[in-house]
Symmetry: C2
Subunit: 415 residues, 2 copies
């Protein structure tokens, strides 16, 4: 039996007790875990120092280093996240659509845990506590596999959480950490369908691709975002500039940031000079097609590969189109099924865009940056699904639940 298999068996054993925890017990434990993390701040920061020193030594990118770094106030933020999860309504146990059939059978759907959830993530240590909190609140056992760059920080966070659980009289194996960080261990984990019910990868395109190709466990794909904004010929120019600046620059490096503009040729000559100036003031590099470049000298020539690129940086591509059909066709060809927006005053165009664009989130007259579980009012987020099965778009607690039919009879047999 391999190390990964023993984790799978532990998870299955923990599942039985986990399924029986009630709402009050879960919420009390989450609050205790939050307190425990604050108390263990020193140990967690010490572990984080090791990861940070290694990161600097290995020449890690400053953006990644920032994601890796913990301090007292970030640990407080993590604890507050758990407290917020405790305050959310408990979705488990709700009975949906119970109806009486003509033969007298009462048939309804009960919301239940999924069972064991595997989460593979990269260098953000806070994901370990967030993911634990969401899985715990929904009575799921979680197996975490974090990136090796953050392993000491993740180990310290998980040790603190497991210790508090044990003090609370809860089986600490409802949170299991894969301590082997090799690629082989990750691939082996993806194939444990006899022990793990669902796999959620949280990371870059390489990780997601590896999961899609290797996993035998059902996967919820949390994808990349090559998000477009289409500026229709009737758009309000001022609002368009404000929304585009927000979607591109309010936060760079996130999946719901805009990466590409599609602009109607009638509005391009009016919009582009002002827009490019505003973007340049924010230090955004701009590439575009021939028609776009004819409207502004600040636009560099786009390569064909630009249309499919998620820059995650201060860069944007611009394509000018002759009508909404061309815009939708371009977007449906190059988007990654994440978040797409139209800016328009035209009712029919808004309706057509909402109907025909194939993405998790389709916007009219708003920034794509709102694609987020908190902004959608879920009070939490485990990721943003770009697949069509089970959950699509920002995922809150409900995405971590399944249902089972319960059927109440009084002796019915089938005729």
């Amino acid at each position: 039996m391999t190390y990964i298999e023993t984790l799978g068996i532990k998870a299955q054993q923990a599942k039985k007790g986990m399924m029986k925890l009630g709402t009050q017990q879960k919420n009390d434990a989450l609050l205790a875990v939050a307190q425990g993390l604050i108390q263990d701040t020193d140990a967690i920061l010490e572990a984080n120092t090791i990861d940070m020193a290694r990161g600097i030594e290995n020449g890690m990118d400053p953006g990644l280093l920032d994601r890796l770094k913990l301090d007292a106030s970030r640990i407080e933020g993590i604890a507050q996240g758990l407290e917020q999860i405790a305050s959310l309504p408990d979705p488990i146990g709700e009975i949906l659509r119970m109806q009486k059939r003509p033969n007298g059978l009462m048939i309804g759907q009960k919301r239940v845990p999924i069972g064991v959830i595997g989460i593979i993530f990269e260098a953000r240590p806070n994901v370990s506590a967030d993911a634990f909190g969401l899985c715990f609140k929904t009575n799921n056992v979680v197996i975490l596999k974090g990136g090796k760059d953050a392993i000491h920080s993740i180990q310290a966070l998980c040790a603190s959480i497991r210790h508090t659980l044990e003090v609370q009289g809860i089986d600490p194996d409802c949170l299991l950490l894969v301590e082997e960080t090799s690629r082989e261990a990750t691939v082996e984990l993806m194939k444990q369908h006899q022990y793990i019910d669902v796999l959620i990868p949280r990371g870059g395109a390489g990780l997601i691709q590896s999961v899609v190709m290797n996993a035998t466990i059902p996967v919820i794909e949390t994808g990349t975002g090559n998000c477009h904004i289409f500026v229709d010929e009737t758009a309000d120019l001022e609002k368009a500039i404000e929304i585009i600046l927000n979607a591109k620059t309010q936060r760079v490096g996130v999946c719901n940031a805009a990466e590409s503009l599609v602009i109607h040729e009638e509005i391009a000559p009016k919009l582009l000079p002002k827009l490019t100036q505003a973007l340049i003031e924010k230090e955004v590099e701009i590439v575009g097609d021939k028609k776009a470049r004819a409207c502004s000298s600040s636009i560099q020539e786009a390569e064909p590969s630009d249309w499919g690129k998620e820059y995650l940086a201060l860069k944007i591509s611009i394509k000018v189109v002759s009508d909404i059909d061309e815009a939708i066709e371009h977007i449906n060809r190059y988007n990654t099924g994440h978040s797409e927006a139209i800016l328009t005053k035209d009712y029919d165009h808004a309706k057509q865009f909402l109907e025909e664009v194939d993405a998790a989130c389709v916007y009219v007259n708003a920034s794509t940056r709102f694609t987020d579980g908190f902004e959608f009012g879920f009070g939490a987020e485990i990721g943003i699904s770009t697949q069509k099965l089970h959950a699509r778009g920002p995922m809150g607690l409900l995405a971590l639940t399944s249902t089972k039919y319960i059927i109440l009879g009084d002796g019915q047999v089938r005729k």
Copy 2:
């Protein structure tokens, strides 16, 4: 480019037109397709004759031959199935839970097609028309891969459907049939995640296992059913015998038939003599553990492998337990997550069984044979899911849909 890839590309091309079909157009087309099948009865039966002759030549099992066989009245049944699908409400386009956020954004979920659905099935030719009807009603393109034993019948059915669609002015490529029946073609199909959004295997354990191991496309697993009935010590004896006979013998060889009984030791001596007599009258072979055999001489000794077996035949296993906890533990160990029943008059035991048994459908005081989309009131069924993601239990039209968030703003940007 391989043959399978060309089918994927055709499906993607057909998807665009398919997504635009309205309810009336879809229902009219389904009725026309039903009429077309009746008109093409001779050609379909001629093709079926070839499959039947081959089947007999190859010594096909009589049960399988019966599933393969078509006649005028079965074709009428297939046509009626399509008419019924036409009469069902159209789920596509419904907007769920649209709510206003504090910043004025209106956020709701719109029910949309999944896109392209791959269905791999075995020797029942009628699955081709049923699956087409359900996918068509939900604006999905379907790629069918049927078993080679039924290939002529399936080809004839699909040719008739495609011809009618073309006459109706609808792109016939919304129904694509894989004409290569080799194992290699099937495995290649399972890996076309760039063209196919979801894969639904309908068949035996071997097919399902192959899909789980090979597919890179998200799968909805429609599994086998090792269904149990637990007879609690308070059960009504007469009703228990009636329900068990129904669940075992009303139809053999279906996934919701009971395969195993778990009986409380206090009721076993009263129940088993009468029950085994009734089962033997129905020609059911009975195996059981030591405690069961002590109650009736008609019970043969069960092998350890019996507990995990889906007989799909006139055979049943019996285990006697000392309490409900042991019953639930046994069931959760050996069941396949399909349908499980408790027969009891005890409120607490009913509640515990409903809560703790991990299966798609959990019954109190009724036959497991009701696990079926029609019996649940869906008006149709594409299969019974035994997985926990997306859909669990009998799947009707809703299981073939996804959602997308639509967000209506008036200039909102994220702060």
